[in-house]
Amino acid sequence: MTAAIEVTDLTMTYGDLRAVDGVTLTVEEGEFVGILGPNGAGKTTLLETIEGLRRPDSGTATVLGLPAWPRNPRLLPRIGVQLQASSFFERLTAREQIHTFAALYGVAAGRADEWLERVGLVEKADARVEDLSGGQAQRLSIACALVHDPELVFLDEPTAALDPQARRNLWDLLTDINESGRTVVLTTHYMDEAEILADRVAVMDHGRILVHATPAALIRRLDAPTRITLADDEVITTREPAAELARLAEAGRLDGVRVQTGTLEDVFLDLTGREYRA
């Protein structure tokens, strides 16, 4: 079985700036991978190079077994891309929008309508894209990326600028998509999003991928002590949380206990030596 994405030693520069600096990355089929990093880390550049929009300065990117560059019309129907929530034809309604994209991929209009329903935009089908809220535009944009049922989906910060409720709705949608067998690659600068959605997280900073592992493994690797906060606000810091919790249970003091392990924020601090600021 070939990997969905194989990136080897990829470098992309803008003048003197190395936006992507020697990245090597493998994404397996069916995986949900989150590329996490602060603004300017190089996430978009990396994604666009993997999608085949940019010619790598050096290194290679292979997508579904085919080279990403140059543009390969046989590869394009197999991938779905959301670049930016506003990548729409001006002044079309939501329905006209997704019908247009469906036609570009040779997909029947009925399938496009199903997608409108799936992302909950039926009531907004006749609204112009300019009149959609941020969350609605994001959902339409994702529906347009998925209308041709691609095997591999790229989403660039799909939840940026959404309110918490809209974010959660979108998370459900993305989980569904992944569970239906599609490989999903998503960039985000939200720690919690990467932790909740992704099977594996690639932490990126200054054009480099610092680590690429499951969120749990990243935190375990961090080797940070666990903090147990008791109901009376007493804090116990321990490296053996299981034994400590057993002891507390015996003493009948488990009610109201909060257990805190390390977070991805700690991982970032540990890797870069500086606070994570999205």
Partner: protein
């Protein structure tokens, strides 16, 4: 073919729903047509003020029926001072000054009001021809010499319809291309389309087809309004204006592409297109004839594609030139389109940053 139609439909819908674009493509130029056509044709209803300098037997000894026609058209004042008469014509106090030199009737008139100028030339010519025939029934004795190098046969509407149409098409083609390029680039739609299994040919083809269709609709509206309300009459090979307009559209789309390629925002692109097209319209005779302009300006105008579009359209639509008259302008416009597209392609950047 399906992607081509889907894209064309999307672009056309985007256009007709954009009130500003529709206004500038159709309503705005039409306002000028109505203004020019209406204003000047109103004036031409009044009598033409004529100063007869010295003795002009041709005017004085008119046969009775010609006399009536003549009096209907002209309001005659006598004078002995040619310089003073010419001065009055120049200032617009009189429309024409005539003098008779031997057997030649010389008419001095101003082109400030093309409608009256047309009447002067037409009526006097008829008068002279009529007199010739009445007097001899054979060899013309008298001869009229009209001292103007302009298109004396063209009435206002005949002159303005092709020129304003040229301007309207230039404007909407350039704005359309500039705004599309910038807007699609900013929203990353251009990139998004690159990631869809659509050929560049389909994308460009759809955009061009929509703009060309808009240009032909503009033409239909202009000819319709001109014909119905202002008595526009097209001459023989007017249909050659269609291919001419198509090539002109391509040329101005290329100029719009250039404007889109050198600017960073949509407003900037539209402004740049405006900056290129509006002065060009003035210098290409869309708003007034250039015959009285200084020679250097007339020479300069030959460098402007709109000048060739306007000239070609005038030739085939109203001047009665044969269809071949449109070929040279078409070749010039096509060459312009090619060169400007190549330059725009070199300057093009995918990203605005």
């Amino acid at each position: 073919m399906k992607p081509f139609w889907a894209l064309s439909r999307a672009i056309l819908r985007g256009f007709v729903r954009d009130r500003t674009s529709v206004f500038f493509a159709v309503v705005f130029p039409l306002m000028f047509l109505v203004l020019f056509g209406g204003l000047f044709s109103d004036q031409s209803v009044g009598k033409v003020d004529m100063i007869v300098v010295g003795d002009a037997s041709l005017v004085d000894d008119l046969p009775a029926d010609a006399r009536d026609d003549f009096d209907d058209t002209f309001h005659v004042v006598r004078s002995d001072d040619l310089d003073d008469a010419l001065d009055q014509v120049r200032k617009g106090d009189a429309d024409v000054a005539v003098e008779q030199q031997g057997d030649t009737l010389v008419a001095h008139y101003s082109q400030t009001d093309p409608a009256k100028a047309g009447i002067v030339a037409g009526t006097l010519r008829a008068l002279v021809d009529g007199t010739n025939i009445a007097l001899t029934g054979q060899q013309p004795t008298y001869d009229l010499r009209v001292e103007s190098v302009e298109d004396d046969s063209l009435s206002t509407i005949q002159y303005y319809t092709p020129g304003l149409l040229g301007w309207a098409v230039a404007m909407s083609a350039a704005f359309g291309a500039a705004a599309t390029l910038q807007g699609w680039r900013q929203s990353k739609l251009l990139r998004r389309l690159q990631l869809a299994p659509v050929s560049t040919r389909s994308v460009v083809g759809a955009r061009v087809s929509v703009t060309v269709s808009i240009a032909l609709v503009q033409m239909a509206i202009f000819i319709g309004v001109g014909g119905i309300f202002f008595g526009l009459t097209l001459t023989g090979a007017w249909w050659m204006a269609i291919p001419l307009l198509v090539v002109g559209t391509l040329c101005f789309m290329a100029i719009g592409l250039l404007a889109g390629a050198i600017t960073k925002t949509q407003e900037g692109a539209v402004n740049a297109a405006n900056f290129l097209v509006l002065p060009m319209a003035f210098l290409s005779g869309s708003f007034f004839a250039l015959d009285d302009a200084p020679q250097w300006l007339q020479t300069f105008s030959e460098l402007l594609p709109l000048k060739h579009l306007n000239d070609g359209m005038l030739d085939v639509m109203v001047r009665g030139e044969p269809w071949t008259a449109a070929l040279v302008p078409m070749a010039i416009l096509a060459a312009f389109a090619l060169v400007v597209t190549l330059v725009a392609a070199r300057l093009f950047r995918w990203d605005t940053a």
